[in-house]
Amino acid sequence: MRRSNLKRQEIFAFYTFISPWLIGFVLFIGGPIIASLYFSLTNYTVLSSPEFIGFGNYSSLFNDPLFWKSLYNTVYYAVLFIPLGILVAFTMSILLNQDLKGLAIYRTIYYLPSIVPAVANAILWIWLLNPQWGLINMLLKAIGIQGPGWLTSEQWAKPGLVLMSIWGVGSWIIIYLAGLQGVPEQLYEAAEVDGATKLQRFFYITVPLMTPTIFFTLVTGLIGAFQVFTQAYIMTNGGPVNSTLFYALYLFRNAFNYLKMGYASAMAWILFLIVLVLTLIQFRLARKWVFYE
């Protein structure tokens, strides 16, 4: 009797303490998520009450060429950005893990770009990607390459934005650094005693032990890449010729510019399903290559 009373008290205390978060979650996250599922089945201008239309939004989405175009642009961006981002961040983290003088300064410098506010970052890159006087094309010119028009070119706008995103992979570098510090020193010592070369030690110790970390960035990176928005909203407004009309940008336009909240909600749910499926696939594939100690 006494025990269960205590337990009840504990449960009460638990929920009391967690209630700010719970209430916040239900009101501002969980509730809207469920509401959006309902709205996705309606014709909803926000200014009038929603009108139920079943799967109407979903079927018109599949017939909407801009939906496909925006999905294509987003997948293109993700496929280009994630592997390159991981490669760059991983390489940087290894370099920043060396025993060097002034290491803390280097680490700070390479992390700095990721704390630049998104809008300032975008404005800065408009200049960097400037076809005539941009730093990037200047550098290309110095080695004899005529740089592309970047943001004014249908072919190069997306790669331009990818380049910009790679500049901001500082947070991944931090995560990889943490991972690298976690690799037990004795493994390297044992390998050295066995006569393994530096390269062998890297590929047979460092890389396998880093796979869980890489996997983590792969999953979060994919989720992030599918939500790419700010750059296109500020820098290109979807152009030229819709080549940077990303999924989230098109969703935003439908929701807030065209008064089609139902349609936008349907888009959000499709995005959720896509990301969910891709993440599940990754978890399945991870069994083959991610190495847990």
């Binding site: 014709n43 201008t45 926000v46 200014l47 009038s48 801009l66 408009i126 200049w127 400037n130 076809p131 005539q132 006087w133 028009g149 970047w150 943001l151 004014t152 070119s153 249908e154 979807g238 152009g239 030229p240 010729v241 819709n242 336009r253 807030f256 510019n257 065209y258 008064l259 089609k260």
Partner: protein, 454 residues
């Protein structure tokens, strides 16, 4: 007798005094601009109407994105009493029963069409009800750089009048370097603030039928206009890509390609008059936008701000008093005075030489325009006066962006996409405009099905 009168008078005085002092002060929430000259203007209004207080807040830093915030406020049922609306999107908002029908007020106060410039005045109506008063607007004209004309032997006093002139002049004005890259342009059709809309309208095209329910951007006259733009780009600008990446190089006001003698002609808004005034070495002229063929009437288009009252306001009368004042001559006068005061402060702070001037804004109210022109025009250099007369006169022959219809913003984005598709040779002008037509028609049908104002 005398005593009685005194008592009577003092009671009367007390009554009058207390009734005004304790008259209920009504606060109007207003979403608009909050830059110092505007805030001072709201305070001026309060001085004149002591029983109305204006509580202003910024509608949006970005003029184009006023809608997100307003949409959320409407949905939550706490929209401001009055607000500034972008005329672009106005029809669609008005169709949703968002705004208060001010027709009874305009009837009562005799605010009538004849006192306003017609294009934007018409734009404030939906289903024969008026939902706003038009505030400040803009017009677009052709500017040409006289120095550049002189350099290549063109008469600097003769503006291009037709599209053919634009071609012939550009032929002379275009310069290339040794490796064939264009270093100087005559005219770039889609640069400045022209958009395909102006070429369509100049060629007599119609973007919607008279009911506003049918998209007609595949009108042969609009197709012709876009086709002309594409050909012009290919022949005189090295193609859309070359021109775009050239222009991308000029960011920031100080190296504007027109001011720095890199592009000789442009179609742009009346706000350029302010901008050009800061470059004393620049010699330029302003003319009506060139027409496709000699003898055709020039036209242009205008966007701008509307003052609307929200449908759910508790103080429609006071809100009406405010927006009527703001859009009319008194508001214009107060605003102009405050702009000039603000500019004087800037002048002192930045230690600039000379006296700041005020180039009157384009108000849609005719009386407001007259008041501003009488007071400020004589103080402007005679050259600017002349140009100002052109941009102001254009208010009589302009198109309003509300003519883009019920789904104005969708139409705008799709026209832009169609233009880019054509300029970049992804589609022929006709294909691009047909695709635009299909997409906008779909959105338009949906929007008409959802109209709530009957």
């Amino acid at each position: 007798m005398n005593k009685k009168l005194t008592v009577f008078l003092s009671i009367l005085f007390l009554l009058v005094f207390t009734s005004t002092a304790f008259a209920e002060v009504v606060t109007i929430s207003f979403w608009g601009w909050i830059s110092p000259e505007w805030v001072a203007t709201y305070r001026d209004f309060e001085k004149q109407y002591p029983n109305i207080k204006i509580k202003e807040s910024l509608i949006s830093q970005e003029w184009a994105s006023t809608s997100e915030k307003f949409l959320a406020a409407m949905a939550a049922g706490n929209a401001p009493d009055a607000s500034v609306q972008n005329s672009h999107q106005f029809s669609q908002w008005a169709s949703q029963d968002t705004f208060y029908d001010i027709t009874p007020f305009t009837k009562k106060d005799k605010v009538a069409a004849k006192d306003w410039f017609a294009p934007q005045w018409k734009g404030t109506f939906f289903a024969n009800k008026q939902f706003a008063l038009p505030g400040i607007t803009d017009t677009r004209v052709l500017y040409w750089n006289k120095n550049m004309f002189k350099q290549v032997g063109l008469n600097p006093e003769v503006a291009p009048k037709t599209w053919k002139d634009l071609e012939n002049f550009s032929e002379k004005l275009t310069k290339k370097d040794a490796s064939g890259n264009i270093t100087q342009f005559g005219f770039i059709p889609y640069w400045g603030n022209s958009w395909t809309w102006i070429y369509g309208w100049l060629n007599g095209g119609r973007f919607l039928d008279s009911t506003g329910k049918k998209v007609t951007c595949d009108d042969p006259r609009i197709v012709y206009a876009l086709d002309w733009m594409v050909k012009f780009y290919d022949k005189y600008c090295g193609g859309a890509q070359v021109a775009a990446s050239f222009l991308q190089g000029f960011q920031g006001a100080a190296n504007d390609p027109f001011v720095t003698n890199k592009v000789a002609m442009q179609i742009n808004g009346n706000w350029q008059l302010w901008f050009f005034a800061t470059f004393p070495q620049l010699e330029y002229g302003a003319a009506p936008p060139p027409v496709p063929k000699e003898g055709m009437k020039p036209t242009t288009w205008s966007c701008g701000s509307y003052y609307a009252i929200s449908a759910n306001t508790k103080h429609p009368e006071e809100a009406w008093t405010f927006i009527k004042w703001l859009a009319g001559p008194e508001g214009a006068k107060a605003y102009a005075k405050n702009v000039l005061e603000q500019r004087k402060k800037d002048w002192t702070r930045q230690q600039l030489s000379g006296e700041p001037v005020y180039v009157p804004d384009l108000f849609n109210n005719k009386q407001a325009m007259k008041v501003l022109q009488d007071e400020y025009l004589p103080k402007l250099p005679s050259k600017v006066q002349e140009e100002y007369k052109l941009v102001a006169d254009a208010l009589n022959w302009t198109h309003s962006c509300t003519e883009m219809g019920l789904v104005g913003l969708t139409y705008w984005n799709e026209m832009d996409a169609a233009t880019q598709a054509a300029l970049y040779h992804k589609m022929t002008p006709k294909e691009a405009l047909l695709q635009c037509k299909q997409r906008v028609q779909k959105a338009l049908d949906e929007a008409w099905a959802q109209v709530k104002v009957k």
